[in-house]
Symmetry: C2
Subunit: 503 residues, 2 copies
């Protein structure tokens, strides 16, 4: 029931609007730093970002916020639905942040910022011992956090809950075991296949300007609105939603491998469609963003894999790609191209992994994090454990820690519990695809025609528009009628690789 | 004498640093809106800018600020020099802003924001009556402000003081009369000259990308540091200093008239050199910007006219311009080109005026503003008075108000007292040039060699580094040994146009 708004409710919404304003300004400064801000201004800009971040943080744990929570929580049923959910979100943040002693938290922020630069050096030098003391402290602090916040069943659940509320160790253990039992034999079969794709055509010189032209065309076809966004170049690509009318995509051009830009842009474009299509009524509240890392990743991976690596999509777009290129595909039939972009083979680096082996990279990290947090693994044993797991899951072994345990930035920033979101997003995406096929049975035909509008409309109706109004598993349940289910992804992978490798 | 900093002094500096942080974030959002922010996000972005502006404004008139001013003013001699000047600046702002009843001020802000869109329509339709009621209210409010703030000698002095502290009606009346008495006969002589420059070569097709290439090269030669800045495209060019390590230039490319971009970039580059070379110790204080509109304009006009329209400069750069162009200067000797870019003839639009007639455009506005504020002119008579003055000063008459009294945006935003800065900047620039010649007698030779470093160094030593540590007339006095003096500009104009028009 929606009632007339009281002054208290209005004041609360003004208050959160101001926090959103700080975050929007911070977002723009972040984007700017990564797309061409002059380097001599960066240090001072970082201070500005720091000050605005403190403002937003202080507002989230202020006495004023405490008073809003106390006064409004008693009369929730009288509140507008958006206010209710906003209040919940603010309360969760308040409770979480208030429980950490502020001096400890500040110390931790300093630790992480140091740790990141040490990690960079350690990675370059492939020297785990350099990073070890920092990682030990970070793990220690995360355990402390769990002490402050409490936990249910498994300590690691508390960290998972930050990124993917509702998802637990129990759930993950089950789906990951299931995934692994299907993926590992499939990887094996592929390794033994005698009819592998030829991939030489991928690595010819593809001029940057032409890659950009193609990337822009594909974003447009996806339904990305250029009146509400723009495409820029960066070193580590990302998409960022400042508000639904300003959602920016960044990409990277590798003239020796067009896939970096093309699949990267489609991936970030998927994230961007999510942010562009959040309901306008959520602007200025903390609900005006994706509901979780996993659901966000479901959108990027859906477009990257179920659209961008689909043969029908290339039936529509291969000629355009050919015309943008310098002739590298002239003697390559569509089917050969399609097989090439879907090559699968075990590799050491997560971010370069293919669709099939990617979840195995995530499982390695998941098991290590779970073990660390539950005192079953020690930081000093990580290099050995990492290498053993890579051998066990992927059949290959890093020759040094730079391409092994030191490859990801996440742990140096204290992000424990984040990695599983990548794999969850993939499973969610497959579940959405499965459901979508019931409602849009001519899915492939639409791709062939280049008509991606109904696909975007389905995602907007079932996912985008809600922002954080629904928790991730509610989005999934309401959209597909089921909870987390690895079977759809497994089915997809089996079918796809059977075709690509003629198994 | 500089003493050890007290905690109070440190807290005060932290406080102003935060205000600077808001302003830096606002500056970036402003730049972004004018260089490619997606249009659908603008409305929400404007709200964010509004909120951060309120924050900065509220901090400037807060009780906390009042307390700092009260506590620190008593012990100024114990403060660091930067703190002293910062305190003065904060006190001036506090006094000015506190005297305006806040409800009246808010009403005025709304009025101006409406007035600007009405002005746009009025200009397009050339319909002064549409804009008249708004302008009347704005003038009325400015008179009210003078009532709150008080005045010395002449009411208009109070407004002048906002933009150019120390400059008064008495001073301006004198220098403008002097300028006019010399410029008007010179314009007359030029009109009668039988040897006018041929300007057809200016208006050939010059590809945008090539204009950009040339603009970048010239900025570099000027000593603009691209590690502390960047060049972008916009509709109404500007330069903006976010901090000395991030000072951005924008320009506009007209493929039918390369002068827009080339002289526009040099002009904005002059502003940018100022902001890039402010002393690092002023970062995070309100002193970290140009000291006044006039001194800022002295820098842009110095580079635009005394560098960019100097023959020696083109001896060095004409070949590069030729090589960037599509051949439009192939049969044009350097001297003919030099004369063409220095053509002078009376025109109706201020921003398109040449060096010689430009000050006359300013005088028209100055006299009208002075008359309005002193109740000697009524808003309803402006179109008639405007046209009469153009006829009297420039010998031409607008055929409609769109190209007459409605041409500038300034009044719709309430900026009365701003226009004189343009002419002051021009006089300051000529005074700097004159003094510089004593210390750098081989000025022209340096331009011929393309060695602009000593010129920039002179400006940094005498102007740039001080930021707002000195008032404009102190900058002038310390650099040149004299007060405002129109003679140097007059001498320059006489000599230059004698040469260009072979008088």
């Amino acid at each position: 029931m929606t009632a007339v708004m009281t002054d208290l409710e209005k004041d609360f919404l003004e208050y959160v609007k101001k926090m959103s304003a700080y975050n929007e300004a911070i977002g723009l400064m972040y984007w700017d730093m990564r797309t061409g801000a002059p380097k001599n201004g960066i240090e001072q800009r970082s201070e500005v970002i720091g000050m605005l971040s403190s403002d937003a943080f202080n507002m989230s744990v202020s006495e004023e916020m405490a008073a809003y929570i106390a006064k409004l929580s008693g009369k929730k049923e009288a509140l507008n639905e958006v206010t209710q959910k906003t209040l919940n979100e603010c309360k969760e943040n308040y409770d979480r942040n208030k429980k950490i002693p502020s001096d400890e938290y500040k110390e931790y922020i300093v630790l992480c910022s140091k740790a990141e630069s040490v990690w960079e050096q350690a990675k370059t030098e492939s020297n785990f011992e350099l990073f070890r003391p920092y990682l030990e402290k970070i793990v220690q602090f995360n355990k402390k956090l769990i002490g402050y916040w409490g936990y249910k069943e498994n300590k690691y659940n508390t960290l998972l809950d930050i990124y993917e509320p509702g998802v637990t160790v129990e759930i993950l253990d089950e789906v990951f075991a299931q995934l692994r039992s299907e993926i590992v034999p499939l990887v094996q079969k592929i390794a033994e296949s005698s009819d592998k794709p030829r991939t030489e055509c991928l690595f010819k010189h593809f001029p940057k300007e032409k890659q950009k032209e193609f990337s822009l065309a594909i974003l447009k076809k996806m339904g990305y609105d250029f009146n509400s966004g723009r495409l820029d170049e960066t070193v580590h690509p990302f998409a960022i939603g400042l508000n639904p009318g300003d959602v920016r995509v960044t990409t990277k051009y590798d003239e020796k491998d067009f896939r970096t830009a093309v699949f990267g842009t489609i991936h970030e474009g998927g994230h961007a469609l999510y942010e562009q299509n959040i309901s306008e009524e959520l602007v200025g509240t903390p609900l005006c963003t994706g509901t979780s890392m996993g659901i966000h990743e479901s959108q990027s991976l859906f477009y990257e894999n179920f659209v961008g690596r689909n043969k029908s999509f290339w039936q529509e777009n291969y000629d355009l790609l050919k015309s943008c290129s310098d002739g590298q595909f002239d003697d390559v039939p569509l089917n050969e191209f399609y097989r090439a972009i879907n090559e699968s083979k075990p590799s050491l680096i997560r971010i370069e992994a293919d669709e099939l082996t990617y979840p195995l990279h995530i499982m390695v990290r998941y098991e290590i994090e779970k073990g660390l947090i539950n005192d079953e693994i020690e930081v000093r044993d990580l290099p050995r454990i990492w290498n053993e797991k890579y051998e066990q899951y992927l059949g290959i072994k890093p020759s040094n820690d730079g391409e092994g345990v030191l490859q990801d930035v996440h742990w140096s920033g204290g992000s424990f519990g984040y990695f599983p979101s990548y794999a969850l997003g993939y499973m969610y995406a497959a579940q959405f695809k499965n459901k979508m096929l019931e409602e849009i049975p001519n899915y492939d035909e639409l791709l062939e025609k280049g008509d991606l509008e109904p696909i975007k409309a389905w995602m907007t109706k079932n996912v985008h528009r809600f922002g954080k109004m629904k928790k991730p598993l509610n989005i999934l349940q309401d959209a597909t009628g089921e909870g987390l289910n690895a079977n759809h992804l497994i089915e997809y992978l089996k079918e796809k690789y059977k075709e690509v490798y003629k198994l």
